[in-house]
């Protein structure tokens, strides 16, 4: 479908029809103090040729560093077929189609995506995706508060081992809706929530959030935590890495009853690292919560002749029907990212996904062992990890990372700002993309830099 902008003549005709003098006049009712007067930080426009040149120069400046940063976005090998298929004309749109009669291919793809996600998370239903991992968690928190009729509580327990940026985003979205996030501290030795110590947490809550693996890469005691929360009539919101689910227990099987909602960042499934996006969020839940789930859902049905067909379903939750009472007014859907993720999962299959997970875990284990053999480097926490781990380095971590970057190595994520109590920690990650040589190069460079800092 081509994008057809209005011509000046058409704009003039439309303005004349409604009796407005100009486009500007349409915004008159917004008080001047609330209106943006241009965007200072954005420079004037450039031509396509100038932009192409600028971007080429920037790319050269960036070089091709060896990346050991995870912290929520992960470098994985993406089979060439993934984007070859995703960018075909038939799929090349960022939006979920709502015209079933014109969009069977895309709708079937989303249906298959949903099926894959429910199998990966062990839950009953998946939506067609959300904006990103952090906003998916915010939506999950809102959904849990709406759904939990047993407690009617507007408190949600949010461990500090949940991604700090996710916690910020959730706070920004829920704070004006009368929802309180209660921070739960972590065990300093384990690097995970102390499941035994939770009994001191006072009061009722609508939900407990559990990130697995957590922001430190460490594994939480999901079964104990899930059962603890369910005994207190809370819902359990799982924040999970989809690659890790190739190896770890799916949220639907946590504890005795399973997590109620699972959400997370879909980027590891075939989306390249690119300045923070576009990525996509995913969300799955138990069947009895489906009417409180935000976002679109594609269903499979039959047409008048009994042939299978696909269409959006359960739309009464959505804003075009429920207006202000919709389960979410975010309908921006990362359709193209989901197309890539679906191709990625289809190409890898369960066994391929498991191998990526195993290789990522093995490489991170090798990286941690190698780095911790260096004097002045040790592991921060005792808890087992998946493909990311926190290290203590006897040096100014931020300065060290700058020097490593100069040497072409992105050495990890500094924990100093988000976890000052750790006195400077370094979060490192090695996915299946890293070789033994890469790890050795990091170690050798680090030894050199530690001698200098």
């Amino acid at each position: 479908m081509p994008f057809i902008p209005h011509t000046d003549d058409e704009v003039a005709a439309m303005l004349a029809a409604i009796g407005a003098e100009s486009m500007e006049a349409l915004f008159d009712e917004i008080p001047p103090s609330l209106r943006a007067r241009g965007i200072d930080a954005v420079p004037p426009g450039l031509t396509e040729m100038q932009v192409a040149r600028l971007m080429t120069e920037r790319a050269v400046d960036c070089g091709a560093p060896l990346c050991f940063i995870g912290a929520g976005a992960y470098e994985h090998h993406i089979p060439a077929a993934v984007w070859e298929i995703a960018t075909r004309g038939e799929f090349y749109s960022a939006y979920t189609p709502y015209q079933a009669e014109a969009s069977q291919g895309t709708l079937q793809l989303i249906y298959e995506y949903q099926t894959m996600m429910t199998r990966l998370t062990g839950l009953d239903v998946s939506n067609a995706s959300l904006y990103d991992g952090a906003s998916a968690l915010a939506e999950a928190v809102l959904m849990a508060v709406r759904s939990n009729r047993a407690t009617h509580s507007r408190r949600v327990l949010m461990p500090r081992t949940v991604h700090p940026a996710y916690r910020d985003v959730v706070q920004a979205i829920v704070r004006h809706q009368g929802i309180t996030l209660e921070a739960i501290d972590y065990d300093r030795a384990a690097g995970a929530v102390d499941a035994e110590g939770l009994d001191d947490t006072p009061g009722e809550a609508a939900a407990l959030v559990i990130q697995q693996p957590n922001f430190f890469g460490a594994l939480e005691e999901i079964d104990t935590l899930t059962d603890w929360a369910h005994r207190r009539r809370m819902l359990v919101i799982a924040v999970v890495n989809p690659i890790a689910l190739g190896l770890l227990k799916p949220p639907g099987e946590w504890g005795e009853a399973g997590a109620d909602i699972a959400c997370g960042e879909g980027q590891p499934l075939g989306i390249p690292l690119s300045s923070g996006g576009p990525y996509f969020g995913f969300m799955c839940c138990k069947r009895d919560l489906v009417r409180q789930m935000p976002g679109r859902i594609v269903g499979r049905t039959v047409d008048v002749e009994g042939r299978p067909g696909y269409t959006l379903t359960l739309q009464a939750r959505e804003q075009h029907i429920r207006r202000s009472k919709a389960t979410s007014n975010i309908c921006t859907n990362q359709g193209l990212m989901v197309t890539a993720a679906t191709q990625y999962m289809a190409l890898l299959g369960p066994e391929g996904l498991r191998r990526v997970a195993v290789a990522s875990h093995a490489n991170t284990t090798a990286l941690v062992e190698r780095l911790c053999a260096i004097k002045g480097v040790s592991q921060l926490f005792e808890q087992p990890f998946f493909h990311e781990a926190a290290l203590r380095v006897d040096a100014d971590v931020d300065a060290l990372l700058d020097r490593l970057a100069d040497a072409g190595i992105l050495g990890g994520y500094s924990l100093k700002r988000d976890y000052p109590e750790l006195g400077g920690g370094l979060l490192v990650c090695a996915t299946e993309t890293k070789s033994g040589q890469d790890i050795e190069r990091y170690a050798t460079t680090l030894i050199g830099e530690l001698g200098r800092v």
């Binding site: 009729r149 009417r291 009464a316 029907i321 429920r322 009472k325």
Partner: protein
């Protein structure tokens, strides 16, 4: 023309109210409302024990083409809900004044039904809406 039983009371938001004579009322949506909404696919009922004020939203009826809030016609406490609707929301279409009832309210102290419409009043309200 939809059915408007003479022995019931009504609201302008299309709820019907039946006085049970024991301090409770039974509430549902009218024949007119169900015919406008079309085939019901889901009914979200309030929790038993919930205290409501008159005019408070306490249920949602969802049809193939719309979802609508249902308001409590009177202040009180929800004492019973129609569990049959969980599996059979179409009862609201088939028998709106009988098996398709939604919930029962124990009327709060001092409350009465005098502010509600009678059958003629409701018929006028519909006519005004359609005019």
């Amino acid at each position: 023309m939809s059915e408007i039983p003479a022995d019931l009371r009504f609201t302008s938001t299309h709820e019907w109210i039946e006085d049970e004579g024991d301090g409770t009322v039974r509430v549902g949506i009218t024949d007119h409302a169900q015919s406008l909404l079309g085939d019901m696919v889901y009914v979200e009922l309030p929790e038993v024990g919930r205290v409501v004020v008159a005019g408070e939203e306490c249920a949602v009826v969802e049809s193939v083409k719309a979802a609508s809030d249902v308001y409590s016609p009177i202040a009180g406490e929800i004492v019973e809900v129609n569990e049959l609707l969980t599996e059979g929301p179409d009862l609201v279409n088939k028998d709106p004044y009988g098996e398709g009832w939604l919930f029962r309210v124990q009327i709060a102290e001092g409350g009465d039904l005098s502010g509600l419409l009678d059958a003629d009043g409701y018929a006028e309200a519909i006519a005004a809406e359609e005019a």
